[in-house]
Amino acid sequence: MPKNIFDYIIEDRLPFFWCEGCGNGIILKSIAQAFADLELEPKNIVVVTGIGCWGKADDYLSTNSLHVTHGRALAAATGVKAVNPNLKVVALMGDGDGVTIGGNHFIHAARRNMDITAIISNNFNYGMTGGQYSGTTPEPSFTATSRYGSVEPPFDICALAKAAGAPYVARATVYHVNLLERYIKNAIQKKGFSVVDVINICPTYYGRFNKLKSPVEMMSWLRDNSTMKLEDGNIYNNRFAIGEFVNEDKLDFSTKYAQLQNNARKLSVQLEQDLSGK
């Protein structure tokens, strides 16, 4: 049955609580659009969220959802997926949630190749707690906890995901909405761990601290600093390479585990026979 975004977003719960100019609404709409385009049944979707502004995204969804502790969305999602591989499991995390406090779960979910889609709203700071620096804050940005400029190099989420073995890795920005929708749809369709690093704007904190005061200024900043020439992108220096970086086929955890279960059934019978001396 054809679907639209309001089969997934609860209209009554709008407007979003996010600040004016925040890109989270754009990302959430893109996700709902991807669900609709793929005609997914809400009962078969589990959205797992962590803590942060983006971690509140499930408040607006009519799918199943599991809102967990800070950084643990992928670990909880791993439990859901391992028990029922038929569920479409989508983890929504911010840059703090996904690759800072939750960095260990992120690389291991990628390594394990769990069939989970991770959509990271990457706004370079902790919005919910007042704009402190995160593991993706570009150097030398100014934040509530780096008033003299951050001296820590940031993670390139896509490079990290690729190195950890994720079979689908893409980056878009909230300015490039068509691209964003397409990548999210591709990621959801991918069997295996898929990552979409969405460069988002936080005019309230990151923008205000870094001379990008209005949403318009921030959007222009995304437009002017994004490139689809990968060699031209340098996230460490506020140049955002956007595009699909990895798109390959690789057996996911659940497929391999089902095979393991078959082997275990046969082997455990043999083992019992061996021990009973037959």
């Binding site: 009962k43 803590i51 967990v68 502790t69 791993t78 859901v80 275990a264």
Partner: protein
Amino acid sequence: MTQEIKFLQGNEACLEGALKAGARFYAGYPITPSSEIAEMASQRLPAIGGVFIQMEDELGSMAALVGASMAGAKAFTATSGPGFSLMQENLGLAIMTEAPCVVINVQRSGPSTGLATKPAQADVMQARWGTHGDHAIITLCPTSVQECYDLMIYAFNFSERFRTPVIFLSDEIVGHMREKVVLRDDIPVVDRAFPQCEPNQYKPYKAGDDKVPPMAYFGSEFIFHASSSMHDETGYPNNTSQNADKVIRRLYEKIYDHRDEISITKEFETEDADVLFISFGAAARSAREAVKMLRSGSIKAGLLQINTIWPFPDEKVKRLALRAKVVLVPEMNLGQIINEVIKFSCGTPVFGINKVDSTIITPLEIVNKAKEVLQNA
């Protein structure tokens, strides 16, 4: 059907009990002295269609249990001190989301990494209060291999019945001890109550009189929200103070209102005991031996063995302490459960027998202390 009798380690019996109770998901991180449980789970679970997954740490293990539980599986993990500390975070998640699961802590000597292969009973208060915020918790302590098996089934039953994590507080002695165990079939297995309403009427945190909400699973016709943050019956956020009060009280009362159903204790010769021992886990075994030794020397001693340590069996302690001349609490720590005993001892003098040298308290140490305090009583 004849029941199998085996000679097993406590840790192995825990796994047998878990499988009997219907456990089908294990997520964990290896740690001495609990690793046998993970190793056996990794062999046995996939052969019966279950899943074993070795997570990157205990934070993730505990989070994965919550996910698995919400997807409909009976889920468990096993760990020891350092890992149990990491699990506190998402133990709270399991309490708040009301995700049934069982966490085995085979206690070892601490603090921190301490003595990895040596026993202790020093996580009693951590089990009660380790995760932040007001909450109730169910904690079971085995003293024998048979109890590892039996109480593990009860641990799952309580977790399912009350939609709550249950802590199974074993120790290195009981975990590694081998004894005869009957893999009995006569303990009925309890499953979580599935909602009886229409799917579109389902509210995941709406409870009836018993304060335990029926539980659907992800992928069923019943779509639901589960949340770590304060939520109302719908699972969606509700930050009013009335709601917070209601939720926190219900989470507490759903366990404390049913403490008679949860409380498991055993009494040995308590009827006429002048000297009452109150103990749990490995130390309770020594106390039982001490009862025999004292009785053979005509001193009326008895033991209250606590298997359900949380909620604490305060009524039982009151009743028995009132009749005794002295109460002694042997425990392999510097005094944890004794403070609970003192609260309910009704004026009867209470003495601790504490040992933290990473060896079991011996019956003779208990006998000597009992004689000493009796003399001064």
